[in-house]
Point group: D2
Chain length 373, copies 4
């Protein structure tokens, strides 16, 4: 059971005491207090855990400091969308709203290589009016003899360039807890105009120690990529690890899965799961067309497959798109073949907006009169 | 090498003789003549097979009766989209154009049960302005003890009702060559106002004897469903079986695949393959959201998943949608849980058109200036 | 409920009448009589179908002509191993015992090509003391342009050679009901010294019309190969189709499955399912190491992988092994790379016997004192 | 190119200088020196990396201190079995020989719970003459709300009990670098009679930071479990990470894979890969029947499936078997249903030896006269 307290309540310590008194009446039930910094409010949730099935909700709902009581019906206690759950989806970070009403394109380099390329990329973002990007400094690679990323050494000039071009959020993969510290240090030294969304990659989807590490800090939100070889349920449980440690600011990213079907793309695109994640959780959903599709090819209608699946994600409700770009794909140190050119970015943004408009029109037509399903 | 002759050429027998003379100069090369009845023209193709790599194309291209010479570069000789291939996609059947410019919704019953249900369904199609539907009379079922379909006995009243409601094409699965004869007989007896598109189901995707049987007739077009457990390439080879026997009027249907990922839907939706099929072949593409998604659930935005994946198929270029309906899903003898209600049909058609309009807008914006990929 | 009558009972018509009288007392229950020609006895089973849950078994068990009453607890009514089911596993055919006490190696050509190769192969079988072989005349191939087998034309000389070399059972794939007739005709014309086990291949595992066709005849037993892309349960249901039409003489063949794991072999070997099939059904189990492993490679211990997996099948309880051979693999028209040489056959037989002896020793050590599981 | 120096050579520094002089002649080539403590010798390998394709091997082979020159032909530089590679497989640790000539059963608790259960288990190992076991203290679990293991607190009494019962090697999963330190500390405090083989679990198969951590120490060997959702090649690359950091003492463990085939076992058993791993690498292979098969069932021959697949692993060349036991499976905190009882251990050991004897007999029959493959 989750008790959501009225925000910015002066009497919240009173409320906590009242709750505690009620909890004490029930054996085998414990309470845990979670504090969240929302975009406009300070929020407090009290989670009752243990044998809560027989605990009535009314006494809690009647307390003046309690805004809402949510009965937790699924295994995703923290990230789950529970029955009669009116809490909003998403979060604000560094001035950017990662809720359901804004579409973000996170365009950038899979692997940082030179300052010129990074600068060129952030400039392209700025020209297209984007405040979000992606940059890879720490690369987990299948073979120990492949390029492993530039690591901490590139962070200062990456962040400096991002700040200079008005990019407020850079998604960046981390593979070890110490990378979070390195990123924090580098951001502080560069004056912090830009921010970072920590990315947990598909190979670390069940690296529970890493999940706990990014969950135990609240400074940075987390872009969690589903495991390409595990079930959606296992991936959602992994996201729950992050939230259960205290960090609820998570974007759930679909990026294709590996199957036995000799896929003509790099992976089998799993963007039909967008509405499933939105139904089962309160996490905004990102799609990664680059890693799903891999090397780009163009359909006879003139539209590249990477665009087509981007559209598929957006008309299903995704609000973020993570895309690989490189000014010179042939020279890219990682995943070059799937990179778009910076000059393709305006067209991608326009295409994404066309699809978003279609999605919004469809949603509007479903308001008021629900489907007969 | 494929030589496409000028249509309706009075001198085509002269042309054939000229081609034959040229072919005789090359050892190990044979010619095969294929005649097609197009919507407006009678077309002839001459296929050169065998050791054609060293055969020059110019002498053939210079013959006055030859419209175009297509070098076959892939293994899909008949269905493949070859380099510099300007032949159109699709076909006409019983007054319906299955090309790339028209969107068709084939809405109907997975398994025919009662005349009332069939009539109710065709009436719903008519009310929504649809000329296409689906009806299952022969059902291949996993267990021998499951309902196996009403078979030939229901065909007369199914076709009579279709004709009465202006439904021109009914997609209908066949599992044996004799079913084609039964369908032909029933259509003839009911006066033939409606027509049938023979459906080859996913379990028969590599039943090569059945593929040959539906390929050796040209009366009915074929809706071929990809194998849910084989590769896309194997499925396209199976479609090639149909065409290589003489019937090029094929719609290729995506219907989801089985994976190891504990899919939250009935299958993993494979509609990202729409542009791949359109690129590799000249077959129009259908999507089957009902068998992909299975039991319907509604996303928090108010839109059912079955709709969402329909949209994903359409914005990627699919031009047919095969959907299960039933007036009383709880009483359906097969796949009831995934059926929509007839009263949902207008909304589905409206949704599909919204998505089609977005697709067309996107395609238009890509004309003229190709992507920098 | 299955009633097994006492074999060769003169009074069996009386028994049937008595059963019928008892059945009439229960609404919604029907009886079906199945006659089987066993190796030494004529057997009759009466199956009660419909709402049998409330039908008591005692009145039937007390009838003097009833040997045993088996309550059917699973969906595999005909092939299933039901609780307290004492019926034996397997069958006799043309003098060969396909029960659990005999190990058979079915060594032969994947695709028949020349009389010399066929003769050479049967001679190798004879030299190794084998009465069983395999020969492919009808080949279902992924592409319509691949070699499709010699078909009916090769049957006379194949069967003549088999008979001459004392091969009593040739496993032979069929892909259409008319192939069964062609085989029957050819056997009759060659005097019938050899026999055929009809093989249903993995691509036809859910071709229900073919399954019904081989089930509606009882002259030939059936070697059913599991579907490489469907579940074991779906494959067992397919075998049930054969039996439910009247033919219980089935060998269930494991042949590897396709996965997404980039298998270093042609397929992922599924021989851990041997004990599962033996537990859930009364079918003897065959393993096909050639199609599982594909192209042979030799382990550092000097033993080819094809042998190693053969051993894995045998120590788990398989009693048949289907292996591809070819006197000149480089010239084979189908699957040449996975073929062993005829001169490898004695070594394979010796290896198989070593593994069988280990299996029998292990089984013996488990008699008397069951495991504590 | 790998240069293996003569062991215990007094002049090895001379040899290194001679090699360095030769290397300097080739641009783009670097040398790396690896020192190994073998069971009887101190070994030195010099690896030449970079553009070595054009470097001739003869000048190095002629140096008096060089025993052998191995041309590296695969991507598995450290763990790979290269052409003409005569280096032995395996290693010694704490008095136990993990080479190809000894069969080890590592029987123990999936998750440590009470001192009594641990003691009971080690006593069972001792009674069966085993020097090896497994114990789980750190448990990576799919859900954050599942039992996560007792962690460092149980190590003292676990190691004390192991030492007391003569268990020399305990396989123990670690999920973070700090666990290695905790284990080292606990072993030192308990006097170190027992030793630990660090286990990397299937969920961490591509946790490259953890792989590097266990590779950067040489005190403990590593039992690496293949990823259940990645390819064998990716898993071998992961093992290469460990070796490339300096620790070559690795046992490669097969534990079943997840497929889409609705497996009747917990996973699809992948023990047909045993000879593949032995062919591609110089790593000894372990099989884990418990996690492959999951909940035990008994075949009609009286042998549990867990035993059957154990036999399948051994006859293919596996030399270690990792098996879950629990004195009271119903009370186990993790994976109880798949645990055998301690009283089953003698029977498992006897069964394993029967299978090992069959394997050795088969290998012997292949010596001298190689197969005609």
């Amino acid at each position: 059971m989750i008790l959501i307290l009225r925000p910015d309540q002066p009497a919240s310590s009173t409320t906590l005491a009242e709750i505690e008194a009620l909890v004490r009446e029930h054996e085998g039930v414990e309470m845990r207090v979670h504090q969240f910094e929302g975009s406009r409010h300070h929020l407090t949730e009290v989670h009752l855990v243990g044998q809560t099935a027989a605990v009535p909700s009314d006494p809690f709902a009647l307390l003046p400091g309690v805004l809402q009581v949510v009965r937790v019906t699924t295994r995703y206690r923290m990230i789950g969308r529970h029955a009669s759950d009116r809490r909003p989806v998403g979060f604000h970070y560094n001035g950017v709203d990662f809720g359901l009403d804004h579409l973000h394109v996170l365009a950038g380099l899979c692997a940082v290589d030179t300052p010129e390329h990074v600068d060129r990329m952030f400039a392209a973002c700025q020209e297209s009016g984007l405040e979000t990007s992606r940059m890879g400094a720490y690369k987990p690679r299948t073979s120990p003899y492949d390029f492993q990323g530039l690591g901490a050494s590139c962070l200062p000039w990456v962040f400096e360039s991002a700040g200079r071009h008005g990019v407020r959020v850079v998604a960046m993969e981390v593979t070890d807890a110490r990378h979070v510290d390195e990123i924090r240090d580098a951001l502080e030294r560069t004056g912090n105009a830009t921010g970072v969304m920590l990315q947990v990659g598909t190979r670390n989807a069940q690296n529970f120690e890493l999940l706990k590490a990014v969950g135990q800090q609240r400074e940075f939100p987390v872009l969690f990529k589903r495991g390409m070889g595990i079930t959606l349920e296992e991936s959602l449980n992994a996201a729950e690890y992050i939230a259960s440690e205290g960090n609820p600011n998570i974007v759930f990213c679909l990026r294709g899965v590996k199957t036995h079907l000799g896929d003509p793309h790099r992976n089998l695109v799993d963007f039909a799961h967008v509405p499933v994640v939105l139904r089962q959780t309160r996490l905004p959903v990102c799609v990664d067309p680059s890693h799903s599709v891999g090397r780009g090819a163009v359909a006879p209608d003139g539209i590249p497959d990477i665009f087509h699946v981007t559209g598929q994600g957006i008309v299903a409700g995704a609000t973020s798109v993570l895309v690989d770009f490189h000014p010179s794909p042939a020279k890219a140190l990682c995943d070059g073949p799937q990179a778009l050119l910076p000059e393709d970015l305006p067209r991608l943004v326009a295409y994404a907006r066309t699809m978003r408009a279609a999605y919004e029109a469809a949603v509007e037509s479903f308001q008021g009169e629900p489907a007969g399903l």
